[in-house]
């Protein structure tokens, strides 16, 4: 084989390399940090504390927690676990769990069932995690719920597929795209739309995620004009925007169920095509994101109803104030929004649970038994108190708000309302159990 002996790069090439590297570094250092915080609260209310709040670094034997999170083109949930990690870092800087730091192992997956099954086994058997907290995966709940039941793990997730809300050992801090899309549709129904169209990401479980929109439209005698699954990442947002508005017709309603970057593409394309006022727009919870509202122009003021499973990112309550502080200090590249709040709430719940246990109970059995007993966990980030409880299905977060963009911030349009109970969505049964077991004070 002929040995290639090309000339060595000369000075011009090295100079070019230096210029390009400097440009890259300057842009990367500036990337992402400057625009995420414009909605930070000006309220000087006291923030909650993380962990013991004593300012002392925890140095004892670590307590290990685990999570599984989807990270692939078009679907990246690592902002949720990133925020949970930020919370745990704060806990570790403030005395840990009675002196013991939390070690958080986050495994990323790409919707390969074998991979996801192996990751759960690894966390439980090899890493010997005490609990699994903050997982956000397109397939973990469906693939691993049997394993969690067999091993006695009561898992706190930011749920996506319906299996995260319909199995006995998994409870989510959010309500997931199925219920959230339904909530977005409820907002459009309150705005008297004439038709209903929904579009969501073509991912595992994506068809079920948007089925609630069609169901609630039918329950309210509103013609459903289409339920579309779009491949992500979206490469023809303008075409999708035109298709959706044509399908809905003048005065119709369009519900989007996409992650922030994907939904934003469609909305911006709609604006460019002059379609903002053709229909009424709504988006499930991922739209409640600081980077989204800052990118939307004034044409969208009041024109987009976002179903917010968690409170406004600039709400002044003590927990949300702590969330803002932790984002700024420990996770400045993660934009303020529902995803970050989910990670925060999950970490908050498990931290309080761990702090309530004596050292002898800090075992997988002890921790998971305690998780299952959680009830009436109050936080200003959620509409109702959170619980795990001894149920066959868990939807503890089943009430939320609607927010609309107004000059690059979200403002509340509808205060907390219950997601409608429909045939097959379990909410009737769940709410009866909440009352009978006193799980959240309702």
């Amino acid at each position: 084989m002929k040995k290639s002996s090309g000339p060595r790069p000369g000075r011009p090439a090295l100079a070019l390399a230096l210029i390009s590297s400097l440009l890259l570094v300057a842009a990367a250092c500036g990337s992402g940090g400057g625009t995420a915080g414009s909605t930070s609260s000006t309220n000087s209310a006291n923030a909650s504390k993380c962990g013991l709040g004593n300012g002392q670094k925890a140095t004892g034997a670590p307590l290990t927690l685990g999570a599984i999170v989807t990270k692939q083109p078009g679907t990246d949930f690592t902002g949720i676990t990133g925020m949970a990690q930020a919370y745990f870092s704060c806990v570790n800087d403030n005395g840990g769990i009675n002196g013991r730091p939390i070690k958080y192992i986050v495994e990323t997956e790409q919707t390969d069932p074998q991979q996801v099954a192996a990751l759960a086994t690894k966390l439980i058997d090899d890493d010997k995690v005490l609990a699994i907290v903050g997982s956000t995966s397109l397939i973990d709940c469906a693939v691993n719920h049997t394993l969690y039941e067999q091993r006695g793990f009561n898992v706190i997730v930011a749920g996506v597929p319906f299996a995260c809300f319909s199995t006995p050992n998994i409870a989510a801090v959010n309500m997931g795209p199925y219920y959230s899309s339904e909530g977005a549709a409820q907002y459009l129904i309150s705005q008297n739309v004439k038709t209903m169209v929904v579009a969501g990401a073509n991912v595992p479980g994506g068809d079920h995620d948007i089925s609630g929109v069609t169901a609630i439209a039918q329950a309210n005698h509103i013609p459903s004009k289409g339920a579309f699954l779009e491949n992500v990442p979206i490469s023809d947002a303008a075409g999708i925007a035109v298709k959706l508005t044509q399908a809905a017709g003048d005065g119709g309603g369009v519900v989007l169920n996409f992650t922030p970057p994907e939904g934003l593409k469609i909305l911006q394309a709609a604006e460019q095509q002059g379609l903002v006022d053709k229909v009424k727009w709504a988006w499930s919870t991922p739209g409640n994101d600081a980077s989204v509202v800052q990118a939307l122009g004034p044409a969208w003021n009041g024109k987009l109803g976002v179903n917010a499973e968690l409170n406004l990112v600039d709400s002044p309550g003590p927990d949300n104030t702590l969330y803002q502080k932790l984002t700024k200090q420990y996770a400045p590249t993660i934009p303020l929004g529902s995803f970050g709040q989910m990670g925060f709430v999950a970490a908050d719940i498990i931290t309080h649970t761990l702090l309530s246990l004596p050292d002898s109970q800090l075992t997988p059995q002890g921790v998971n038994a305690a998780v299952r007993q959680i009830k009436n966990f109050k936080t200003d980030i959620l509409c109702k108190a959170w619980y795990f409880g001894d149920l066959q299905q868990h939807v503890p977060n089943n009430a939320d708000r609607t927010v609309v963009p107004q000059n690059h911030v979200f403002v509340q349009k509808q205060s907390c309302f219950d997601i409608a109970a429909l045939q097959g969505n379990n909410l009737d049964t769940i709410r009866q159990t909440e009352k009978s077991q006193g799980l959240n004070g309702t």
């Binding site: 002929k2 290639s4 090309g6 790069p9 000369g10 011009p12 090439a13 390399a17 210029i19 390009s20 440009l23 890259l24 842009a27 990367a28 500036g30 990337s31 992402g32 940090g33 400057g34 625009t35 995420a36 083109p73 078009g74 990246d76 690592t78 902002g79 990133g82 073509n202 289409g226 699954l229 491949n231 990442p233 979206i234 490469s235 023809d236 947002a237 303008a238 075409g239 999708i240 035109v242 298709k243 044509q246 922030p260 970057p261 994907e262 934003l264 593409k265 911006q268 394309a269 460019q272 095509q273 002059g274 379609l275 994101d289 980077s291 989204v292 990118a295 590249t333 993660i334 934009p335």
Partner: protein
């Protein structure tokens, strides 16, 4: 039957950008023999740098756009200067795989530096526009189509009538003979790398508005441009342009139809497969003897 007029506008605009980047790919291939698979990634990175310059460093928009285009030229030229000559004698496949490695590096860099957030970069030309009946045509769409057509014409004339262009064409035919004729091979190649990179930077800006500022989406839109270039047999700029427009329009037209709409992203692949089969049809087969 859905109203296809808006889709025609969208398809022509996107097709114009496919044509623009297809021309950039062909010009570089004709001069260096390198099929640059990093074309889309370079454009995406330039657009993200522009986004950071505007939003984080608060620079004027025009400065950021200029930097994005120049960045495309500089980083593509840098790759060409570092790896072009050492790989010059290798198979075209090896040279292409080299650019694939570059793509992966850029993709990883972008994911590391700009992950999590939704990013938005809308060119000011988008605010200009007019309505044709119920169809909105904005300035960026006109720019995409117009630039694609203009660059095709200018590049064709450049390759035919200028000294540098003729030198690029002769390089494509035979590098060694061209060198022995006294043509400054490295300088000609550098011009091709730089020019192609400038087009890559411009394409990234246009696509960030037309499609969205998405790292993976912009990187892999190179596939549509590649299909257009393959249909032009990596030779004809006019055919490349026509193919780019056709891919854009057909893909857009498929969008509103439920049965075929979900498969519209296969359009560039189908075009390329049909073209390659067509070119192969009637070619003499190699005999076993």
């Amino acid at each position: 039957m859905p109203d296809l007029r808006p889709f025609l506008v969208l398809g022509l605009a996107l097709g114009g950008v496919f044509a623009l980047s297809g021309v950039g790919i062909v010009v570089l291939y004709r001069a260096t023999g390198v099929l640059n698979l990093a074309y889309g990634a370079v454009g995406a990175l330039g657009a993200l740098i522009a986004w950071s310059l505007i939003n984080d460093l608060l620079l004027p928009d025009w400065v950021a756009y200029l930097v994005a285009v120049l960045f495309g030229g500089v980083v593509t030229l840098l790759y060409g200067m570092l790896f072009g000559a050492p790989l010059a004698q290798r198979d075209p496949l090896i040279k292409a795989v080299g650019t694939l490695g570059f793509t992966l590096i850029l993709l990883g860099t972008m994911s590391w530096a700009w992950s999590y957030q939704a990013h938005s970069l809308i060119l000011p030309t988008t605010e200009l526009g007019f309505d044709v009946g119920e169809v909105r045509v904005n300035g960026t769409q006109i720019l995409g189509l117009g630039l694609g057509l203009a660059v095709t014409g200018v590049a064709a004339a450049f390759l035919r009538y200028t000294k540098l262009g003729v030198a690029m064409r002769s390089l494509a035919n035979h590098r060694e003979i061209t060198a022995t004729l006294g043509v400054p091979v490295r300088r000609v190649e550098a011009a091709a790398w730089f020019g192609s990179g400038l087009l890559s930077g411009a394409t990234g800006l246009l696509l960030s508005t037309l499609v969205g500022l998405d790292i993976v989406g912009l990187t892999f839109l190179v596939i549509a441009s590649l299909s257009a270039a393959l249909i032009g047999r990596l030779e004809s700029l006019v055919v490349t342009m026509a193919a780019g427009l056709a891919i854009g329009v057909v893909q857009a037209f498929l969008t509103p139809f439920d049965t075929v709409g979900p498969y519209r992203t296969m359009t560039p692949f189908l075009f390329a497969i049909v073209a390659l089969l067509w070119f192969g049809f009637g070619q003499p087969r190699l005999s076993r003897a």
